[in-house]
């Protein structure tokens, strides 16, 4: 089915997350079918694809939120379903698109909640430093004493990201972290993701912006119609022919610093 699988990584056998033949059925319909992929430490993998392609479902399966109907997912060699809630929270963190907080907690308090999986453990001792670092990385230090419920959408998104960073897990999932952010903060967020990967974490991000994905990702996974359409470096995955076919829109591709930038062909 025209899959680009230059995948030297899984051969190395050090993958943090490993999905094999994963499928998900929802109300009789197959929303994800036969997806296999690996994510290794130090890698930023971006899931891209049209609306309703199954990106979020795939992210849910990889992060252990959704149990696959078929196939297996392992985290650090262990079956995901067999890891207890509390321990899983020390292995992987997830930035969801749900940013609402029910009560007017202060921003610093919300970020500190990211430390809760480490409570009563030796790692919990440097909570304050970790929280400060996470707020610094997401440019929200000046908001620390504000009430979360009074922030703008973009500010909330960054606070949520800081909370996820404060969780300090070897695996990080970000579901559309740049939605509702302005240009600069989009770049900031992706830079943070890039840095997390460079520090040796495995980072999986769902993005809509192909050019942004291409600029920061080590590899792209293009999901279409519930199947893995292509997996590889941005230059391998993003060909004009493939993007046009998957998105149903003619595009021009330009190379900027060796990475493809996707521009829709406008009349």
């Amino acid at each position: 089915m025209g899959m680009t699988t230059s995948d030297p990584i899984s051969a190395r056998g050090v993958s943090m997350i490993s999905a094999r033949g994963v499928g998900v059925d929802l109300e009789g319909a197959t929303v994800l079918d036969d997806v296999s992929l690996d994510v290794v430490p130090g890698e930023l993998l971006v899931l891209v694809g049209p609306n309703g392609a199954g990106k979020s479902t795939l992210l849910g399966v990889l992060s252990g939120e959704r149990r696959p109907s078929r196939g297996t997912v392992t985290l650090d060699g262990r079956e995901l379903g067999g890891i207890r809630h509390a321990e899983l929270a020390r292995l992987r963190s997830v930035l969801t698109q749900e940013n609402a907080v029910s009560f007017p907690f202060l921003v610093a308090e919300v970020v500190a909640m990211g430390r809760s999986p480490w409570a009563r453990l030796p790692e919990g001792r440097d909570d304050i430093a970790v929280v400060e670092e996470a707020m610094d990385a997401t440019d929200i230090t000046h908001l620390a004493a504000r009430r979360y419920t009074q922030l703008s959408g973009g500010e909330k998104a960054r606070v949520s990201l800081a909370r996820v960073l404060a969780q300090q897990t070897p695996v990080i999932f970000l579901d559309e972290p740049t939605a509702s952010l302005d240009l600069r903060h989009q770049e900031d967020v992706m830079r943070v993701g890039r840095r997390m990967a460079d520090e040796g974490r495995a980072v999986v991000v769902v993005l809509h912006d192909l050019s942004l994905a291409s600029a920061y990702a080590d590899r792209l996974a293009l999901v279409s119609g519930g199947r893995l359409e292509a997996l590889g470096s941005p230059a391998e995955v993003l060909t004009a022919e493939r993007v046009e076919r998957v998105y149903g829109l003619p595009v021009d591709l330009h190379l900027v610093a060796g990475r493809p930038v996707v521009v829709p062909r406008r009349a």
Partner: protein
């Protein structure tokens, strides 16, 4: 003013209200007793002989048979209702959830009335309490599962569900009133209005026991409630077993509300007003919120009961009437404030 300083001020205020309320409640009544006599009597009971202790047997029995159990009951019930309110708001992720508003209290009163009318004694003298608890639990479960969608409860849905549950329990109560004999009828009316009158030490002991255990459990779960306010999915990603927390908390709310309703009837709005005022003062972190709510609820009920039995000379007003009198306008205020701020809760 920061939250730490407000916390100190709140603690002092609550302590003054609590101690003042207790002493005033012991002093005020048809038989006036001086504060010195009250203190003296308590000291003597603790084994310390002192010159203030009253010699009059009537004073002594008024204190120990009538006023003290009533005060102790007020403290325990107030704490139970306020903590139940705080827990309910935490699991619904909604500041308007309250046992009285959403119908848990009327569910409890309905359960108690069933036991009264049918003359059930399956659980001995505790039968009515057990039925009150069962009714409260059933109502909580019903409200919870009907009004939640996508892990949150919208205010409109919650209030509409509350209306439905209250209407249903109200109809049941009306039917029971209709079929009951005059003795049962009187008891049911008592349940609907709420009163601390005639509290006995045996009952007080039960309520204190349940309240202490329930409040301790709520305090232990406090951190998890904080995380739950990030929404169910986020809480799960942070390692909270949301399903277990949810069910455990529902039982907790039903227990606390049920035991209060079983012995004192419906005392509404305590669980709404108290956690709200405290949240506005020291912020929403649940451990301090729950602890302060317990004290705040205790103080509110003791003072409300003092008012209930002294505002009309020679009459004992139902305390549920008074708390609703305070709570109703407060509810309006909350609605108004929220609408102005964010155009509603949804």
């Amino acid at each position: 003013m920061n939250r730490a300083r407000r916390a100190v001020i709140l603690s002092v205020t609550l302590a003054v209200l609590l101690v003042g309320g207790v002493i005033a409640s012991a002093v005020v009544g048809q038989l006036p007793i001086s504060p010195a006599e009250v203190v003296g009597s308590v000291l003597r009971a603790a084994g310390i002989q002192n010159p203030w202790a009253p010699d009059d047997q009537i004073v002594e029995s008024t204190l120990w048979v009538v006023r003290f159990p009533r005060i102790a009951m007020g403290l325990a019930v107030g704490a139970a209702l306020a903590v139940a309110g705080a827990v309910m708001q935490a699991i619904f992720g909604n500041p308007l959830a309250e046992p009285g508003v959403v119908g848990v209290s009327s569910g409890g009163a309905f359960g108690a009335s069933v036991a009264i009318v049918l003359g059930l004694t399956a659980f001995g003298s505790g039968t009515i309490a057990v039925f009150a608890f069962a009714g409260g639990l059933l109502a909580t479960l019903l409200v919870y599962f009907v009004s939640r969608a996508n892990g949150r409860t919208e205010v409109v849905t919650l209030l509409l569900t509350g209306i439905a549950v209250n209407a249903f329990a109200g109809a049941g109560l009306a039917f029971l009133l209709f079929v009951a004999d005059s003795g049962g009828r009187e008891q049911i009316v008592f349940w609907q209005l709420g009163s601390l009158n005639g509290s006995r030490w045996v009952e007080v002991a039960i309520v204190i026991g349940v309240t202490a255990v329930g409040t301790a459990a709520a305090i232990i779960l406090g951190r998890r409630y904080d995380i739950l306010s990030l929404g169910e999915r986020n809480a799960r990603h942070l390692g909270v077993n949301v399903e277990v927390l949810r069910i455990g908390s529902i039982v907790l709310v039903a227990l606390l509300t049920g035991v209060a309703v079983a012995f004192c009837g419906i005392i509404a709005f305590v669980g709404l007003v108290v956690p709200h005022v405290i949240r506005m003062t020291i912020g929403p972190a649940h451990r301090p919120l729950i602890i302060a709510s317990a004290f705040g609820g205790a103080a509110l009920i003791v003072l409300a009961d003092l008012l209930a039995r002294s505002v009309v000379v020679g009459a004992d007003l139902p305390i549920g009437l008074l708390t609703s009198l305070i709570g109703g306008p407060f509810f309006f205020f909350l609605l108004f404030r929220q609408r102005k701020r964010s155009g509603g809760w949804a």
